[in-house]
Subunit: 112 residues, 2 copies
């Protein structure tokens, strides 16, 4: 079944340490960059939602989406696109400046 594969990749992605992408996985440069980017957006979305003191269900209403999809967004589920993540961040009022910062910033730096 397809789910297995996707889940595996996602979970592996979550466990990454900075810069370790290519070493552990058989991903191409673009693919690993894409996944890292997505994970950053996912984390950024959760942080922003929490700053706004919203539950996933509340944010879902704002997005005209559902709680389950918000959960998937924040966990970096393979079924969600960068497109949706970015649109969601925009609905939460992120500025171009903050969005670009989110993209540029390494996971390590943001965790600190």
């Amino acid at each position: 079944m397809k789910m297995r594969e996707e889940k595996k990749k996602r979970l592996e992605a979550k466990g990454w340490k900075v810069g370790s992408a290519k070493e552990f996985l058989n991903l191409s440069d673009e693919e690993s960059a894409y996944i890292e980017l997505k994970m950053r957006m996912a984390e950024g979305l959760r942080e922003r939602r929490q700053q706004h003191r919203l539950s996933q269900a509340e944010l879902a209403r704002m997005l005209k989406s559902s709680q389950s999809r918000v959960a998937k967004m924040e966990t970096g589920d393979p079924s969600v696109s960068l497109d949706l993540l970015i649109r969601s961040l925009l609905v939460l009022g992120i500025s171009s400046r903050d969005l670009s910062r989110l993209i540029a910033t390494s996971r390590a730096a943001r965790a600190a």
Copy 2:
């Protein structure tokens, strides 16, 4: 037909002057931010392709896509997602740094 609407919105988007989005169109903040973002990526993609001296057809081969889709990407056609634009930029080897710059930078600044 649907094409009319999409085309109209896209063409209007193309004609924007900096900061004039909301004034001319009946778009929400998120929607206009999304479209502007997409147009920046579209322009960025074309610039990068040209810097690499590639035709749309050549780039399409690299992306395992088609010339027509590349053309649509670069013209900001509504049928292309931010997702595809970003993946394409990644294939062209854009760094997180440059990607974030692309997102942060205003159209006016980039034109200069």
